[in-house]
């Protein structure tokens, strides 16, 4: 049987270690030409590392990789790109200061000489963008793009290089279901054109929808490869975590207290003169979770930043525990009990080249219990970090490891742990489960419900409508910087909410 298979990528005995961790152990894997092959595994299972080793970003300790029958010993991505591989990384690898177009074309050779023919590139990129129906402003700087948009830039970057073998490391983790469907459309199309795809995702519905075969990794080892036929989500989670997982949360009934957070006509005009937020008003009571649903890039990030004090509102007023905080710094707001879990963990959440423990006390290092004399009390910091890492199951070989070396999901757990454990009582939580495996999502949902039970005020911002619906008491929808009326989750149908998210109500008017 095996001789009939047309194997395009053959991995044998691949082992990759980092100091203190075996990220991949004796991995054997065959990818067949023209298939969509999903890698499934918990956070830190070694999916990204395996892909990076093939792609030439990491050197491997031992093992062989063959592509199209020829040894592929990529010393750098250049070698992999040269034979037709293309990879979309879990964490965007974009130049913030460059425009979308510049990001797409960087690294390419000119057709002739060294002249950069932007016009020619532009028309070619436009062609692709049109063919795959991707909406993208080529002249916008990437730093002004939402994460969802940045993801699209990464996709176009790979498409533009005409890759025949695509590695997509969690490309949908920040996309809305609609956007993900768009991406799957692209994948189907590429598949028809003969491309092969390795897909990584924690979203099991998607995995079942798009995959031909699925390989499960656990602790760096291949557990099994199955054909995607008659599989259910439960089968997948059982293979992955070793037990069944349900994401149905039972939110506790809580006696609501007074308003913890009030927004009155918050508006924001960006430096470019564009209105990003318009008269956003709502209030959240203690013990209540208010969810904001909406497609990424409609002002969510900015709203969170205005609340957090890193952006200054152009108008309106914010009250925390009943007192106005408009002119207070972020630090002051933190001292008043505000905590923030940002959507963009690389930009706002972590200092990549700080150690895990340093990142854990990033929001609290100055508090008295971490201070000894004129310096830090490193003993106390270590103890605290150890506890959080343990409790939140942050997989790391040591507390001294750089945060950027944690797997994506573990970075997210770190950020969550520090916000939740900081004795805070008003929470701005954006995309809390971005990149988490379902075991971890279950854990986070439980933590959020505990916060609610303890009477905390919680604003949940998420592009995952299901998440918003299952966690929130009340919710609203943000579209182009305006929020809808808030309503109780059970009072509106999903379809109706979907319409709001697409700006439906506005169009009717």
């Amino acid at each position: 049987m095996s001789n009939r298979k047309d194997v395009i990528l053959e991995i044998r005995n691949l082992t990759k270690t980092f100091p203190g961790v075996i990220a991949n152990k004796d991995v054997d894997l065959d990818i067949e030409r023209g298939e969509v092959h999903t890698l499934l595994g918990e956070n830190g299972a070694g999916k990204s590392t395996l892909m990076k080793a093939i792609y030439g970003i990491y050197g491997m300790d031992s093992g062989t990789v063959k592509y199209n029958g020829n040894p592929l010993d990529a010393k750098s991505p250049k070698d992999a790109i040269a034979v037709g591989l293309g990879m979309i990384h879990q964490h965007f690898l974009l130049v913030q200061e460059f425009t979308v177009l510049e990001n797409i074309i960087m690294g390419l050779k000119a057709d002739k000489g060294i002249h950069l023919d932007l016009g020619k590139h532009r028309s070619r990129v436009e062609e692709i963008v049109e063919r795959f129906e991707i909406r993208l402003d080529l002249d916008e700087k990437v730093k002004n793009l939402s994460v969802g948009m940045q993801q699209k830039v990464e996709i176009v970057k790979v498409l533009y290089r005409n890759a025949k073998f695509l590695i997509l490391d969690e490309p949908t983790s920040v996309l809305t279901p609609q956007e993900s469907q768009g991406l799957f459309g692209i994948i189907e199309r590429l598949k028809k054109e003969g491309a092969t795809v390795i897909f990584i995702s924690h979203k099991l519905d998607e995995v079942l929808q798009i995959s031909d075969r699925i390989t499960v990794l656990r602790d760096g080892e291949v557990i099994e490869t199955v054909v995607n036929k008659d599989l259910r989500k439960d089968d997948l989670s059982a293979m992955m975590v070793g037990r069944e997982v349900t994401l149905d949360v039972d939110m506790p009934e809580v006696e609501l207290g007074p308003d913890g957070l009030e927004l009155d006509k918050i508006s924001l005009v960006n430096p470019g003169g564009k209105t990003v937020l318009k008269d956003v008003s709502f209030s959240i009571r203690k013990g209540e979770i208010l969810g904001i649903a909406g497609i990424d890039g409609n002002g969510q990030e900015e709203l969170a930043q205005v609340l957090w004090g890193t952006l200054k509102a152009s108008g309106g007023s914010i009250k925390l525990h009943g007192s106005t905080v408009d002119d207070l710094s972020t630090r002051k707001r933190m001292d008043m009990g505000m905590a923030y879990i940002p959507a963009d963990r690389k930009k706002e959440g972590l200092v990549g080249t700080f150690q895990v423990s340093e990142n854990i006390v990033l929001n609290s290092y100055y508090k008295p219990h971490f201070i000894k004399g004129l310096g830090q009390d490193f003993g106390a910091i270590r103890e605290y970090s150890e506890r959080l890492v343990q409790e939140y199951n942050v997989k790391t070989p040591a507390l001294s490891v750089w945060a950027k070396n944690l797997s994506g999901g573990n970075q997210q757990k770190l950020i969550l742990s520090r916000a939740i454990e900081g004795n805070n009582d008003v929470f701005i939580i954006a995309q809390p489960t971005w990149g988490l495996d379902i075991g971890a999502i279950e854990f986070v949902y439980r933590k959020i419900s505990e916060l609610k039970e303890a009477g905390k005020t919680i604003l949940l911002i998420s592009t995952d409508l299901e998440e918003v619906r299952s966690l929130s008491d009340r919710m609203c929808v943000i579209f182009e910087g305006e929020v809808s009326e808030t309503f109780r989750v059970q009072d509106k149908q999903v379809a109706e909410i979907g319409l709001l998210m697409a700006g439906g109500k506005r169009r009717e008017e």
Binding site: K52, I57, Y58, S76, P77, K78, I81, A82, M87, H89, F92, L93, L94, V95, Q96, E97, F98, E102, N103, I105, M106, G107, L108, K109, A110, I114, H115, L116, K157
Partner: protein
């Protein structure tokens, strides 16, 4: 217009150019290095090395061309040492830069004393001749701009070329990507180490040539510590010029003009302490640059060390 005024303007323009050219070479070199994400703290030392070796090459062979080549070689060699220590052995960019500065201050001073004490003639005679551009050189007031030596014209070409290089070429775009986010650049197949090495070497050669210009076309002799802070002015011009060729050009020109002006003030005999007059160009440069362009815009990965994952 009275002729005395005309003459003063002529002198002013001429010496503005003379003061601008060396630092502009160094600043351009520094700019290229920093665009690739590597801080160049060694500009002062590189200029000093260039000044000495250009002078020495010329002194020994009597050929200006050899002088120029010596400066370039000194720059290239130093650049290579910088590249290897910073990129391969991950030495601190700051420490290496400062080290180079101190090293050349000592080395050139020492060599110069050896040459001086040998009793030989220490003045180079052959100055680089000016190239007169017909017609343009006859324009009143600014005619002086068109009777410069070849290194000045070369610099004009270089400034234009650098601006185009960064904005209109693929390799320029890649180099900028390396300075902004080396990991993103590497992921699309750009060789970060190669790009940075090239940027450091080429940048160091230009900075050294800037020093060479001082001994080849201006002073005709080497003096201990003759660069005297010009490397640091170049360094500042890059920052305040917001990391663009244009900004750097403006910054260096303002400094050149201010220095020229302070000369005139002293010559004409306006009564201010000469130390104050010497200070003026530095102050004017910084004020002008802060007002005109401000800071910021540094490559995002500037100064950060790069580890291949």
């Amino acid at each position: 217009m009275d002729s005395q005024f005309m003459i003063i303007i002529g002198i002013l323009l001429g010496s503005t150019i003379r003061y601008t050219v060396p630092i502009l070479y160094a600043a351009l070199g520094g700019l290229i290095t920093e665009k690739a994400g590597v801080l160049n703290f060694a500009l002062e030392g590189l200029m000093l090395a260039g000044a000495f070796f250009a002078y020495y090459g010329n002194l020994v062979t009597g050929s200006i061309l050899v002088g120029v080549l010596c400066a370039l070689a000194a720059g290239a060699l130093t650049g290579l040492i910088l590249s290897i220590s910073i990129l391969k052995y991950k030495a601190s960019q700051l420490v290496m830069g400062i080290g180079i500065n101190i090293f050349y201050l000592g080395l050139t001073g020492y060599f110069f004393r050896i040459i001086g004490s040998s009793g030989a003639e220490t003045m180079v005679d052959d100055l680089l001749g000016s190239i007169h551009i017909p017609l343009l050189e006859d324009i009143p007031l600014i005619g002086v701009l068109f009777e410069q030596n070849i290194l000045v014209y070369l610099l004009v070409v270089l400034v234009i070329f650098t601006a185009r290089f960064f904005n209109k070429t693929t390799i320029g775009l890649n180099l900028k990507a390396v300075g902004e986010n080396p990991y993103a650049a590497a992921a699309v197949g750009v060789d970060v180490i190669k790009n940075r090495t090239l940027a450091i070497v080429v940048g160091s050669m230009l900075a050294a040539l800037g020093g060479g210009v001082m001994t080849l076309t201006m002073a005709r002799v080497f003096l201990e510590n003759m660069v005297n802070g010009r490397g640091w002015i170049a360094f500042t011009a890059i920052i305040l010029g917001r990391y663009s060729s244009k900004g750097v050009l403006i910054g260096c020109l303002v400094f050149g003009a201010a220095t020229a002006l302070s000369d005139i003030v002293q010559i004409v005999g306006i009564d201010i302490p000469y130390q104050a007059a010497l200070m003026v160009p530095y102050i004017i440069t910084i004020v002008a640059l802060v007002l005109s362009v401000g800071g910021g815009n540094a490559p995002a990965a500037l100064g950060a060390r790069y580890d291949r994952e």
